[in-house]
């Protein structure tokens, strides 16, 4: 066996390597655990990767690349696909000229997420094919297969992984880099790409026809396989659940599904007919069990209690035993907290002291909800702090309304806070509103990725910079202040008190770099000072440089 070519890769790295080997022309996304490393690794390999402001834009960019005949990748976490779902549903209708693979990295058990939605439902809802790898080798192989399927049927393909696939390392024997297919080229297809009703109606029928063909093809597809075993117990599983199930019941026959939408129902029926009893082992929603039962095939599904959280070997053993007794809670570990020197501590101390009602958002600073601050009252989704804060301001009695503050990080603000700011200027609450933008010059929570507000791209090279205070002023907000939150200084506390008292619309930007990257930032600044910004024209410095 070729031992030289054994790599220990995470699922994310394997997806990136396959993308590189397949000549993917462009990968776009927004950082989110557990998907972030896909684009970072793709860039490290030499691929063209970019962070977009949010997942919707990322997917749209990837759709454009695939319309142009290229192979494109959009990578995001499960909740990111909610943001990108609008283009997803219609890109299924338009199809693509090249290849488009959308990686959804789900987080069962919510290690680092606000919900544990099961994005296999999106494949059904948007009517796109879906592949589910079980380890890094399959992450590599299935990414290549997803590109082939996308090109063959001219459809976007969903590659759905989970935390334990993305962030587990296992051995991969990769192939080698192949020449990318022909150069990108625009071929006009007005009826196929312009989704006005008259074009969209036949497009929907075409999509359903493609799905029917793919379902037929899937019956003999090598992405699904049978592990032969005892006839008394059959297991149907996909993704990481397959690994847990094989370990929990090594004697069982297993139908391992890799291509999980549209499902190979004849293959499933044959497998079920060949065993005495058949159990579906799957994490999250009973997606497979429901679909298989709806096709009139009798299988056992897990008990409802196993919808919650991740599966593991022990839980699969319980499912197979039919054990629904309460499970022991694992002993609590130490919860994370804001770093000792985090500049945001000053902000949360202030919010607490001034008894604010805080509409919070997604990022490190969500830790402001924990002790010792407990200075956050809601956290829903990326960007929700603005809308939720405004809604509270609109309906609460004045003595409460005047204490409402929206708190959002810099990367999250660029992701989906901007439209909330426009809403604030357009539909201002009678008593005004205060938005605090916590600007630490990075996307800290996911491991310090760049975003448009940092003025550097995914590779940390200089890029166009979004100036948040200028943007706020251009939305029509007059009270815009930039404050450096420093411990021992009451400047921020004072500014917050004044803004709350003013009854105006106010944006306070608490700006100080994340302590974990302070040294790195200095290096970037030093480097960039030595070479001109790429957007310099005729020697004139760009707005970001002055």
């Amino acid at each position: 066996m070729d031992d030289e070519n054994r790599l220990l890769l995470s699922g994310d790295e394997a997806i990136a390597l396959a993308s590189w080997h397949a000549g993917v022309a462009l990968g776009a996304g927004y950082p989110g655990t557990p998907s972030t490393e896909i684009l970072e690794h793709f860039a490290r390999l030499g691929g063209r990767a970019q962070w977009s402001p949010n997942e919707k834009v990322a997917l749209e960019v990837a759709i454009g690349a695939a319309f142009g005949g290229a192979r494109a990748l959009a990578a995001m976490k499960h909740v990111g696909l909610n943001v990108a779902s609008d283009p997803l549903f219609t890109a299924a209708y338009t199809g693509v000229a090249g290849a488009l693979v959308i990686v959804s990295a789900d987080d069962p058990g919510m290690h680092s997420s606000q919900n544990e939605q099961d994005n296999r439902r999106y494949a059904v809802a948007a009517a796109v094919p879906m592949l589910e790898p079980s380890d890094s080798q399959e992450a590599y192989d299935f990414m290549l297969a997803a590109i082939e399927i996308s090109e063959r049927w001219k459809v976007p393909v969903l590659l759905r992984a989970t935390t334990r696939v993305c962030h587990s390392y296992s051995v991969v024997r990769p192939g080698s880099r192949r020449e990318a297919p022909g150069a990108a080229n625009f071929v006009r297809d007005l009826k196929g790409r312009v989704m006005v009703p008259g074009n969209a109606r036949p497009a929907h029928r075409r999509l359903r026809q493609k799905l029917a063909e793919m379902a037929e093809w899937n019956e003999d597809c090598a992405l699904n396989r049978i592990v032969p075993g005892s006839k008394s117990l059959g297991i149907i599983a996909s993704g990481i659940s397959f690994m847990h199930a094989r370990e929990a019941a090594p004697e069982a026959s297993v139908l391992k599904l890799g291509f999980t939408h549209p499902l190979p129902m004849r293959k499933i029926a044959d497998f079920v007919a060949g065993v005495q009893s058949c159990v579906v082992i799957e994490e999250g929603d009973p997606y497979l069990a429901e679909a298989i039962r709806a096709a009139g095939i009798a299988v056992q599904a897990k008990a409802e209690m196993y919808r919650f959280g991740e599966l593991d070997v022990a839980r699969v053993r319980r499912i197979l035993r039919g054990d629904t007794s309460p499970e022991a809670a694992p002993p609590p570990g130490k919860p994370p907290q804001l770093c000792d020197a985090c500049p945001y501590r000053v902000v949360f101390e202030s919010l607490r002291r001034q008894n604010c009602i805080v509409a919070g958002d997604i990022g490190c600073y969500t830790l402001g909800a924990l002790r010792p601050f407990e200075a956050m009252d809601s956290c829903v989704c990326m960007g929700a702090s603005l809308g939720v804060g405004l809604g509270l301001r609109h309906v609460l009695p004045p003595e409460q309304a005047r204490r409402v503050v929206s708190v959002i990080g810099d990367s999250t603000f660029v992701h989906s806070g901007i439209s909330g700011l426009v809403e604030m200027a357009y539909n201002p609450p009678p008593g005004g509103h205060v938005v605090i933008i916590l600007d630490n010059s990075t996307t800290a929570m996911t491991g310090h990725q760049e975003h448009p507000g940092t003025g550097r791209n995914l590779r940390h090279e200089p890029a166009g910079k979004l100036v948040i205070e200028d943007l706020a002023r251009s939305c029509g907000i007059r009270r815009v202040q930039v404050i450096e939150p420093r411990s021992g200084s009451d400047a921020f506390d004072h500014a917050l008190a004044e803004a709350l008292k003013s009854g105006q619309l106010a944006v306070l930007i608490a700006r100080k770099p994340c302590v974990l990257i302070a040294r790195q930032l200095k290096e970037y600044e030093q480097r960039d000072a030595e070479q001109p910004c790429p957007c310099h024209e005729n020697g004139e410095p760009c707005a970001a440089a002055v």
Binding site: M1, D3, R6, L8, T33, P34, H111, S112, D135, T163, R164, H167, S168, Y169, S170, V171, I240, M243, H244, R246, E247, P250, D312, V313, A314, P330, P331, P332, G333, K334, P335, P336, Q337, L338, C339, C364, L367, M445, T446, G447, L516
Partner: protein
């Protein structure tokens, strides 16, 4: 690959600590050594909150054929804790007779640098495993920038030395 009975149970190790202590770096080294020795290897880590000082743990398994990347509760052969407080929350993962390796086994005063505790504890772990010392030292060297290599080697050997005799007494093979 080693031609071993794939049904033989794998070697299961859990490394636990707090964010920033080097849990992931330690498991990278174990994985590298096991990979070089020709084993099937899987490693499962949870990050995201890891830099915010919270509990971090990482599972690593190697042997003939590894299925689940997670060490099942009650089946860990070794629990390596980089912080004494992280022993109890993870003790349920150990099998009966499983071995704990905790900071107190290292003479902290002799560490070249305080933050090299993770590498010293790897040295202590290595004495229980039938993996070649040279492979460990190479993996440790490869894991750090050249200027820290010598000190990390020292830290590794500091943890490994007092327990060298354990190897003769039958170290764990998967």
């Amino acid at each position: 690959m080693k031609t071993e009975n794939p049904a033989r149970p794998p070697c299961n190790i859990v490394v636990a600590g707090l964010g920033g202590q080097g849990v992931l770096a330690a498991t990278d080294i174990i994985a590298e050594v096991a990979l070089r020795a020709g084993y099937d290897v899987k490693k499962s880590e949870i990050k995201g909150m890891s830099q915010r000082g919270g509990s971090v743990s990482c599972d690593i398994r190697f042997g003939g054929q590894i299925l689940s990347p997670m060490v099942p509760a009650g089946e860990a052969d070794f629990l390596l804790a980089l912080e004494a407080t992280q022993l109890e929350p993870n003790r349920h993962l150990l099998r009966p007779g499983g071995v704990t390796i905790e900071p107190s086994v290292i003479d902290a005063g002799k560490l070249p640098q305080k933050k090299m505790l993770n590498v010293a504890l790897l040295g202590a772990l290595s004495a229980h495993l039938a993996l070649a010392e040279e492979e460990w030292l190479q993996a440790v060297a490869a894991a750090f920038a050249p200027k820290f290599r010598e000190e990390n080697r020292e830290a590794f050997l500091l943890g490994r030395a007092p327990r060298n005799q354990a190897i003769e007494k039958g170290a764990k093979t998967p």
